[in-house]
């Protein structure tokens, strides 16, 4: 082992209050190293999605600090844009752009933000679509695809920006059961290729097979962090035991 893997995300003491006074995040810490796959689980309302969204500044926070890929999140718009270029996000509702073809969905951001030539981006986009298994749908529109296909396009769209970290916010929760596997397979392959991933999900089997660590959140706090074998077979915290009994 030469050097320890780089620290991609470092969150310390993050606290967030909503305007109505609700204390959504109560001082959470997390460190994610390069190549790690961290799966965040927890009951609904635990703040896991909110926490995930602070990593690319879609949610702001009042206290604490978050450093992503060496850049600290602050009020500087330039830094936030830089972070967003390096962090890709996949949403529960896919959020594909319905008025653009699949190919255009992928090429929009690289062309406009990274200012790359269109032909080169299109070539890369087609390769990515091949990689997620839907190259032949390149010229279709999102409305013509199934849920599983749309989510795979969403993953390819984020990958087209060549991010260093990928965030997944309950990527399979809105899918019909028979399509969940095709999306998880793509995510698994992404992990195998060494992508740093933070995934909010309920998929226990995925966490068992792919996660480097599992994080349990409840009521805005991190309850337990452990490797999957330990977490699922021998949880330490009372809350973790309660959660695991609810989902199995």
């Amino acid at each position: 082992m030469t050097s320890s893997p780089a620290l991609m995300i470092e969150a310390r003491g993050v606290e967030k209050w909503y305007p109505n006074g609700f204390h959504a995040l109560r001082g959470v810490d997390l460190c994610v190293h390069q190549g790690e796959v961290v799966v965040i689980m927890g009951p609904s309302g635990s703040g896991k999605s909110t926490f995930l969204r602070t990593f690319n500044a879609l949610e702001d926070f009042q206290k604490g600090s978050i450093v992503v890929d060496g850049i600290e999140i602050s009020d500087d718009l330039r830094r936030i844009d830089a972070i967003r270029r390096e962090v890709g996000m996949v949403f529960q509702q896919f959020n594909l752009f319905p008025h653009l073809s699949v190919l255009d969905n992928l090429t929009l951001a690289p062309v406009k933000v990274r200012k790359r030539p269109k032909a080169e981006v299109e070539r890369q986009a087609l390769e990515l679509l091949e990689r997620v298994g839907i190259a032949e749908q390149a010229h279709k529109f999102p409305g013509q695809l199934s849920g599983g296909q749309q989510q795979r396009v969403a993953i390819a769209r984020s990958l087209c920006m060549e991010p260093r970290i990928m965030l997944f916010d309950e990527p399979t929760s809105a899918l019909d059961p028979e399509m969940v596997q095709e999306v998880l397979a793509v995510m698994q392959e992404l992990a195998r290729d060494g992508m740093t991933m933070v995934v909010v999900s309920h998929e226990v089997r995925f966490a068992r097979q792919v996660a480097s660590r599992v994080v349990l959140m409840a009521d805005g706090e991190v309850v337990e962090v452990a490797p999957p074998q330990q977490f699922f077979t021998n949880p330490q915290h009372e809350r973790s035991k309660q959660f695991l009994s609810q989902i199995s």
Binding site: I71, E72, S74, D75, L77, R78, R79, I80
Partner: protein, 320 residues
Amino acid sequence: MTSRSEIPPWWRNRRYLPWLVQGGVALVIGVVVAFLLTNLLLNLTARGMLLSWSWLGQPAGFDLAETILPFDASLPYWRAMLAGLVNTLRVVIAGLVGATVLGTLIGTASFSSNGLLRKLARVYVEVIRNIPLLLQLIFWYFVVFLALPNGRDALHLPGIVLAKSGLFLGSPELVDGVWQAPLRFTVEFGALLTGLVVYTAAFIAEVVRGGVASVPRGQWEAATSLGFSPLLTLRRIVLPQAFRVIVPGLNSQYISLAKNSSLAVACGFTDLYSVSETTLNQTGRAVEVMLILLGSYLVIDLVISALMNGLNGLVQLRER
């Protein structure tokens, strides 16, 4: 790693930018408004016509062609404008009733079992909607109402006489070649009312049609399977549900009709706008007249909206 205490410059600072943008917009708006108002004050002062309301008490010096309130040239301006307002309200209220009735008839006709009736309803809406209202008003006034015969040749139905000099209700009688009756409506009123009703009914028909169409097909089917006739279904099951969608749409059509009544000046009907125009031409008091005019229409709109919102509250489904 950059430290947190470094405040980024203002043009990329997420916290300051919203305030700066608002400040910039406020500045621009402020400058423009100040510019316009200053010029206004300067120009008005130069003409000795700063804002005052005393001129409203001076005698008007013009007659009104038609008014319910007693009025003549010696009465003050404010009486003239009040008479105009009353005229506007007269035609607006009558127009709202007429347009709603006609519009509902045409809107429900689109669901009739008779193919010809459906087609005619469609044609009515498509034709009326695409011809300017002013053109239609002028047509009704000059081509139809003013072409009515007069005197002895007037159209005579029991209790009603329709002549060029007006619509006479009650027991009309011919006195020295001129018709008289307890209740009289001028052709100007008639033309304006007809034009407004015909035009607005087309839009209301569309609102009603949309409302009835929004009721799920299952409601019709359930009613039929219970033995309801189509007319009963419409009245008791479908229309009450359709109202939820119709009432908000009616609100904007009613306000539209109230505003369109200002075109009365094309028919020679002395409504609020027409009186205001004459007043302004006589006194030159543009700003004050404008304020009264805009204020009045605003109040009319607010009253209509308030009434419709109340109706809306009644009509919405009580849900858990």
